[in-house]
Amino acid sequence: MKNPCKEIRDKAADYVLGILSAELSDALTEHISRCPKCRKYAQALQDEKRSLVQLGESLDRDMDAREAKVIETLNQSVQSEHAKPMQIWRKIMKTRITKLAAAAVIIITVLGGINFWPGSKENGKWWLGPPAAWGQEIIAELDKVEVITCRQRAIRVRDYGPDTMSGLWERRYYAKDAYRSDLYDENNNIINTKWILPDDEGNIQHEVSFKFECYFEEGKKYKSYYDDLLNHLRRYVSFLDRASKILGTETFEGRECVGFEISPGLYGNFTVSRPTHIWFDVETKLPVRTERYGIKSDFDAGKTLTIIGDQFDYYAEVPADIFTPHIPEGFVNAHPDDIQDARKGEMIFAEVPEKLRDEIVSALKEVQTVAYQEYLEWTTADGDTHTYGPRNMYLARDGWREDSSKWETPQKKKWYLLEKKDNDAVSFDFNERNFRLIETIVNFTDKTYSVATYKETSRHQHPMDRILFLAGLVNRADRILENTEIEGIECFGVEVSANKYGNNSPNDKHLMWFDMETKLPVRMEFEYWQSDGKTKSVRVRDQFQWDTELPKETFKPIIPEGFELIEGDDK
């Protein structure tokens, strides 16, 4: 590239740094508008700055993994200049023969009143003592348990917008050789019951679906192993001397608990970061809560799951027949998936290139801002077409804005600002998580405005979260559309029937086109029929400007003078 004009070089750098005065900025803009060399130079600097910011973010993303590696190395090899009791313990415990002797030494030491382990006598805070010692105690207690029950729930952790607690939850029962789980919906209606029971050939799974009124049995597949809670708990406890951090104490279900974080590297070959938190009752020392983070959802690209296990009951008195499968009268012998498929109609799957979904999803996850428009096209049985909208959308990570208009007259402006507390610290009970969504609506028709703060965040989905979900459906496409050019961009497209998720009609469908180069959406259509079966509606999202620079003011609510404040929605 030829050199830019000399006087421009410093100015362009200052402009990128954001320290150029308004006057000089104008002069620069004016100059580059007529000097291609300088324009190219200024553009290159701007692009490089963006790459720097992105590189910074990508370095940041790997920071946890780097930290975890340091902590792992710390735990494995380093000894400080002091002799470390934990290290001594591990060394001693390495040989089975010395285990008893070591235990005897510790007992003698404790009885003798020598403070062998610093902190162990600190106001009854047993968890500050060596995990190897109290861990053995807990494992011995777990070994005595006959039946344990717990509740399991899932939190959907979203890339965009607030996290939400799934309405579905499970009650699980574990005995030494039998397992049962009851799945409930948000209104506590039972959806299905599953048993895994030993048989001559191995374990057999029995399942009754109350939703589809059917039952089935499946053997062999589950021959040797099922998700045994007691085993998991034993394993977590045995890793505690290598826990990456103590989470402190919290109150759960009215009990004071102490928590530990266990890094994924310690109990499996996971390449991704999936830490587990385990909380112990300070009084009984038994585990009362587990939190498993970062579990990927195959279905929804925009979220990972945090699985919470709680309400542990170690001395559960359960009815004698709890592990005996019971099939309600009239239920048919079939797999629920088959019944669901039969109800939904035939599903067609196109051959979508294997990595395409990943490419689209990761491109979308990199996005920081986007502006696009949404509108509705409505075709009646007579063939008349009407357009409603458009609604101009401006999205950033921590908020979004919707400007809607009708016949080119502004109707409403809505601002949503999301305050999401850093969840990296202690994971509190879901309801105590600090989310706040501040909604400001300005209504130009009746000259009013309202402001509302939502703590229950499930009502408003971040629009980007929806886009991620829809784009993530590509691998369930019915067919691949012909490549085409939209808004001057070479695109590939897919068609996905809406019955591929939820209980939607196979007649409704999504048509989506993506930029060949960047893999980002260029146009998204949702075609659906009104209940009269004659009127077709198409919801269109287009004119996407990905990672466009949105001035800070975009997300700052502006109330026109003279507008009257009215009550916001329920909070």
Partner: protein, 174 residues
Amino acid sequence: MNDRCDENLVAASRTGDKSAYALLVKRHYKHVFLVCLGMLGSVHDAEDIAQEVMLKGFVEIDKLRDAAQFGSWIIRIAKNLCINFIHRKERAKKVLVEKSTRPNQTTTQNDSLQLAIERLSPETRLPLVMYYFDGESVKTVAEKLNISASGVYQKLRTAIRELHNLLVEQGDAK
């Protein structure tokens, strides 16, 4: 316990409590890593040295006089280890034939940007890394590097231009 201050964590670490020291790692690692990156330029080298720094911090924690000063103490260790590393590398260079730093054709955009950052002069690189990667304000960078704010701007300005020239040289800038 999450709210424990550095002082308490240092005290616990002195008794050999690795989980307490792990909390200190979580608190200070990023900053240590970015200082190493700023001084060394290479992500790979910065990872190695930052790890060495954090481990050394644990081994030598008894030598820290004022427990509340853990943050600045660990950064001092980082700077010293980086200087040692640079000297070691320079000595090695004298023996070995210096490898060309020109990238090959298969490098990605991030790789070439990282390479260009690696090739920046150290005095402009550290402010750039602190400003862009550690999210620090010009004022904070100035305080930490003990130079004036206008000095920081001058270094950032130079870094931006130098970086562009290096990318052009590598054939990566348009």
